[in-house]
């Protein structure tokens, strides 16, 4: 009897592990996508198009810092509203 219960325990654990792995990979994909979009968006908003230099100027640097902070804020607002909409229904 002891053997049977331990086998069930290990198979259950494996399923949970599989679910956890799937969730983790989804979370990772989401994060990577978010990061990539943030990079592209803030570059379009902040970088000087003429490419006179290979370096970012001080102004561009500040712009990028603020852009990322605001982008993050927008992410959380949208996330909250999407979550709230789901719960409201």
């Amino acid at each position: 009897k002891r053997r049977r219960t331990s086998r069930r325990w290990t198979t259950m654990d494996a399923e949970k592990k599989k679910q956890a792995l799937q969730m983790a990979s989804q979370e990772m994909e989401y994060r990577v996508d978010l990061f990539n979009r943030m990079v592209v968006t803030c570059f379009d908003k902040c970088a000087d198009r003429k490419f006179k230099e290979g370096d970012l100027s001080v102004g561009e640097n500040s712009c990028v810092d603020r852009c990322t902070a605001k982008y993050w804020q927008v992410t959380s607002i949208v996330g909250q509203m999407l979550g709230g909409a789901g719960q409201g229904q």
Binding site: A24, E27, M28, V32, F35, N36, M38, F51, D55
Partner: protein, 162 residues
Amino acid sequence: HHLSFHSSCFLSILHGPWCGVRPTRASHTKVFSVNKPKSSASNVHYVGAPDAMSASSGLTPSDLDAMGEEDKREMMEMVETMQTRDSLRMYNGLVERCFRECVDNFRRKTLDANEEKCVSKCTEKFLKHSARVSMRFAELNASMEQQQMAQMQQMQGQQQGK
């Protein structure tokens, strides 16, 4: 070149979600002055693969410890696949971007000097920009996690109080 997984910030173009908490490579501090984030924890360290995994996947280090070696390996393989895919996508995106921005005339088959200069500056600028964004991303991530932990502890404290 072979993409080794053991140093999670192996490619200079890959930062952000792969590097977890505050990349501390010297190259970043040379490129731009580093504003110390408010959440400067004492455990700032160079991020190894497990930290990159936990930072970007939402799994805690204790979750990762609870997994067996096989599962860990599976996770790491998955992360490596994603990193490769992401870096290739980045590469293609960057090529397209700099081409669009810099190349306009098609009188000749080869790029002229200005276009070449523009392309190399465009690439350099984008990579530096990407590195900066990855720093900020990691900081924002870390501060959000701290907030969440604090909230959870508060909630736990309230439950225990009842």
